[in-house]
């Protein structure tokens, strides 16, 4: 630490010079902040200001730069110095824009600014410039698990970009469900007729691509390591295991159709002439353009009824609650099989909502043109017999109706092949029986067999799907470097699966590339810091391994946490979890924040100047406060806001320290937790709330009122509400009085 040289730069622009005594701030930086170089500038972010700092870096050897100007969210281009530690002291959005420009508050505004300068210097002094994680791997091969259309697409697309691919398929052939189709739904104009599946060409493409190695009759029996250095066991059905190294993994393990036998009321399993959509494909392939014949007696089918949403969108809880998305178009396509071979066949589709988004609408029209009849109705029963009877309520004609048919097709849903539900013990709601369906033989088989402390497969989101929870970041699974795609992540059609698989291929490539450079993946992409831990202090409490939202931490043979840096997303939840404070990042540590808390000047009990510590998530709450400032929404001048990477990284020692130091209130502002969590690190905010739910005892132990600490969910749009929360805390303090803990 000896060679840290802090340069503190105070900007006088944007009204800072008029509103604040910058000379005093410089003195604070120098005397209290121990900055060796201190300068002010009329307009720090312009060419001359930036050049001044650069010169100090180059000539004066300044390596820790404290910029006392605007928010860390502003002017990033100007202040983006490389190779130095940068702390931003937010005097503009954090002070003068949230305080009125009046003489009465001039003093406390100045105090606020001075505190922030102290905090910035304190942070800077404890920061290190991150060095690349020495344990990173640089394998860039991509493993794709599953040889259906999703997996094949991922493989081809990654190979096209120049990457080597291992494609593992558990059956004897590639192709998955697509290979079993007679035709597929069109994905380009004209959206009029079923089109060739394109499977032979795709197979050929894979066969001839030297970059792709295919493992058939094989499963992944072990996955360990981290992005850039995964170690994989590929086991053949016939025995024999190969160990391979890969940089990233794509899980494209697909789906199984919902078992029709679970729909006896719809004739499922009761008549050979009641089939699911996959069953119809089989019949259509057998007919190959000639009239389709029915299974029971081989008779040419003259009438067919398609029952949409069979066992789907079920509100009773008996069957699948979701919509599988593709089935309307699939039934339309299948009805066309009949109409195209013989226009006189009666083909009726009974639906409740016909769902043909985008140009599917053209396909729908085309089927109508061919004479397929669409009836809005709810099917209650399919009566087996030589002539099947479909009983339904015609919702348009408000009639109880019966349609007779030679064949009934049940449009059942997709069940994800997502392996072991690692959260099942934790009580994640699950659809009854789906695991059995997925495994076929009643036993759930893991797809990845991860050796991770937190379980064998990817965490599921809902109904067994591996989808990401995020709308903006659909690829963010909770296992770094492992991306799921295709119907294993949510029900989808072939077109979407292909897009998804292509996107997943990019993410896998990106994960491997970044791992090779020792960088973090989303959302802190590019971050070089990683958690370091002081082994001698560790009590092996396992909180970090359990709480890491990304399963990055395993345990070694001696039961110490084993950090897989390349799996880490740098959120700091482990740091927040650690009761003995042995986990920190080089540029973000228990100390960088802790010393900021301690740096604040806490006036005595009789000053009527309380101090409120606001620990604000840098992703949402902090920007909200920034934008409040841009709109000149004011809040208490007694607040001292410290941005944190995630509320999950908040270590309770900071709160303890603050309270002992005489702070009068502590506010934690994080993202929404729970089912619709908005926390970018999934569990961070939730963990923080959980930890803070126990703070009351601490407060009572210190004879402090419980109201002094509040944890709240703040969205980035809470531009008006976030300042209000701060002001409410100030009012609370006014009511209950200042903390007696002051010296």
């Amino acid at each position: 630490m000896a060679d840290i040289k802090i340069g503190a730069y105070v900007c006088k622009g944007c009204g800072l010079g008029e509103r604040l005594n910058t000379a005093q701030l410089m003195t604070v930086a120098q005397r209290e902040g121990k900055a060796q170089v201190v300068r002010e500038h009329e307009f720090l972010c312009n060419g001359a200001g930036v050049a001044m700092i650069r010169q100090d870096i180059e000539k004066e050897g300044v390596n820790h730069v404290v910029i006392a100007a605007c928010s860390r969210r502003a002017k990033t281009d100007a202040f983006g110095f490389e190779g130095v530690a940068i702390s931003r002291v937010n005097l503009r959005e954090g002070v003068i824009w949230v305080q009125p420009d009046t003489d009465e508050v001039k003093e406390i505004t100045q105090e606020m600014a001075a505190d922030y300068v102290r905090m910035g210097c304190a942070e800077s002094a404890r920061m290190n410039i991150p060095q690349i994680n020495p344990g990173h791997g640089n394998n860039k091969r991509i493993l794709v698990v599953g040889g259906g259309i999703s997996g094949m697409t991922s493989a081809v697309e990654a190979a096209k970009a120049g990457y080597e691919v291992l494609l593992v398929e558990k059956t004897a052939a590639l192709g998955g469900w697509l290979a079993k189709l007679h035709r597929r739904v069109p994905f380009h104009e004209p959206y009029a007729d079923p089109i060739e599946t394109g499977m032979p060409a795709l197979l050929k493409r894979i066969e001839s691509d030297k970059r792709i190695t295919v493992y058939l009759n094989s499963v992944v029996s072990r996955t360990s390591g981290a992005p850039g250095q995964f170690s994989i066991d590929i086991s053949k059905e016939s025995g024999g295991t190969t160990t391979e190294n890969v940089g990233a993994i794509i899980m494209a393990s697909g789906f199984e159709p919902y078992d029709v036998k679970k729909l006896p009321e719809l004739g499922g399993g009761k008549s050979p002439d009641v089939v699911d959509q996959a069953g119809l494909e089989q019949l259509a392939r057998a007919a190959n353009g000639a009239p389709i014949r029915r299974p029971s007696d081989g008779r040419e089918i003259k009438s067919v009824v398609f029952v949409q949403c069979a066992g789907q969108r079920d509100e009773t809880g008996k069957n699948l609650p979701y919509c599988s998305g593709h089935c309307c178009n699939t039934s339309i396509k299948q009805a066309m099989y009949f109409k195209d071979s013989n226009p006189d066949v009666d083909a009726v589709v009974v639906y409740t909502d016909l769902r043909t988004p985008g140009n599917g609408e053209d396909f729908y029209r085309s089927a109508q043109r061919k004479g397929v009849i669409f009836t809005k109705g709810k099917v209650s029963e399919v009566v087996p017999g030589a002539e099947l009877q479909v009983k339904f309520k015609d919702l348009i004609l408000n009639d109880d109706a019966v349609a007779k048919a030679d064949l009934v097709v049940l449009a059942t849903g997709m069940v994800a092949n997502s392996g072991v539900d690692i959260d099942a013990a934790g009580g994640t709601p699950n659809v009854e029986g789906q695991d059995q369906a997925a495994a076929g033989d009643g036993k759930v088989v893991s797809i990845l067999n991860l050796t991770y402390r937190q379980g064998k497969d990817l965490p599921m989101l809902r109904y067994g799907f591996n989808d990401s929870h995020f709308i903006c970041f659909p690829y963010e699974t909770r296992r770094t470097g492992i991306y799921s795609c295709g119907p294993v992540r949510r029900p989808m059609d072939i077109v979407q699966a292909t897009e998804d698989a292509t996107g997943a291929a990019l993410k896998a490539i990106q994960a491997a590339e970044n791992a090779a450079l020792g960088r973090a993946a989303h959302p802190r992409s590019g971050d070089l810091s990683f958690p370091a831990f002081r082994r001698e202090g560790c009590t092996q409490c396992k909180r970090c391994t359990v709480e890491c939202p990304f399963g990055a931490i395993d345990e070694d043979e001696q039961r110490y946490p084993l950090f897989n840096e390349s799996r880490c997303r740098r959120c700091g939840t482990c740091m927040g979890a650690c009761p003995v404070r042995v986990i920190s990042f080089e540029n973000y540590s228990v100390d960088t924040v802790g010393y900021q808390v301690k740096a604040v000047d806490v006036p005595d009990q009789f000053s009527e100047k309380p101090r409120i510590l606001v620990l604000a998530c840098e992703n949402d709450a902090y920007p909200a406060l920034d934008m409040a400032a841009m709109n000149r929404i004011q809040y208490s001048a007694f607040a001292r806001v410290v941005p944190v990477r995630c509320l999950g990284s908040v270590n309770t020692i900071w709160i303890n320290d603050a309270l002992t130091a005489g702070y009068d209130g502590v506010l934690l502002m994080g993202c929404q937790k729970g089912e619709n969590y908005q926390c970018h690190f999934v569990k961070g905010s939730e963990m923080a709330h959980y930890r803070m739910s126990k703070i009351d005892d601490t407060l009572k132990g210190m004879s402090l009122e419980v109201e002094r600490v509040r944890t709240c969910e703040v969205a980035i749009t809470d531009i008006q509400r976030a300042p209000k929360i701060i002001n409410e805390m100030a009012e609370t303090i006014q009511k209950i009085g200042l903390s007696p803990m002051k010296f």
Binding site: S303, D346, R369, G371, V372, I373, T375, D394, I396, A401
Partner: protein, 207 residues
């Protein structure tokens, strides 16, 4: 008239739909309806329809032959074309309604006493006389449609209207004797007869 008319129509089979496609003006469009209901909501006489157009299309698809053809509904069409211009599927609904009415009328199963059916018949006879409308004969014919006594009553009710028209020179008092006639009326008769023959042949009607 066609023989297949009274054949058993299977529900939710396409028999009736196919019959409509073959015999009803613009009938092939019926299958294109997506049941949005904009036509039904757009019809100015909508409230008087037992089955509005979109429902009729569904009934045709459901094979409800009698309920459709015997219905008074399509006789309510005022030919305002609201449904056509609003239909998201561009169905020529007005024409389909006309076509269905015409078809039912031809089959002889349209409601016998429906006033529009009767007026339409009268109208056609009127124009067939001389190739053009004779408005006086048309209105007199209309009033006496239900017999002499009724006609006098209706005629009396309409008398002020008629007098107004006479007075302003917009109704020819001598119209009953003739007037409004094409020179080529004979040709027109022959032409229409021929057209009817062709249509019957195409649509499988007995002439």
């Amino acid at each position: 008239m066609s023989e297949r008319n009274n054949a058993m129509v299977e529900k939710y089979r396409n028999d009736f739909l196919k019959e409509v496609e073959a015999n009803v003006e613009e009938g092939p469009w019926v299958k294109m309806c997506m049941q949005c209901g904009v036509c039904s909501g757009s019809c100015p006489f909508g409230p008087y329809w037992e089955h509005p157009p979109q429902e009729i299309f569904m009934m045709i698809r459901a094979g409800k032959r009698d309920e459709v053809l015997k219905s008074e509904s399509m006789w309510m069409c005022t030919s305002c074309y609201n449904c056509i211009v609003r239909c998201p599927r561009e169905l020529p609904i007005t024409h389909i309604m006309h076509g269905l009415a015409n078809y039912a009328h031809r089959l002889g199963i349209a409601p016998k006493m429906n006033p529009t059916r009767r007026f339409a018949k009268l109208f056609w006879q009127n124009i067939m006389k001389g190739g053009r409308v004779n408005e006086l004969k048309l209105s007199v014919g209309l009033y006496f449609m239900d017999g002499f006594a009724n006609g006098v009553k209706k005629g009396l009710a309409m008398l002020p209207v008629g007098i107004g028209m006479f007075k302003t020179g917009r109704l020819n008092p001598l119209g009953l004797l003739g007037g409004g006639k094409c020179k080529g009326a004979g040709d027109i008769h022959k032409m229409v007869k021929k057209a009817q023959e062709i249509e019957n042949r195409r649509k499988g009607f007995a002439s």
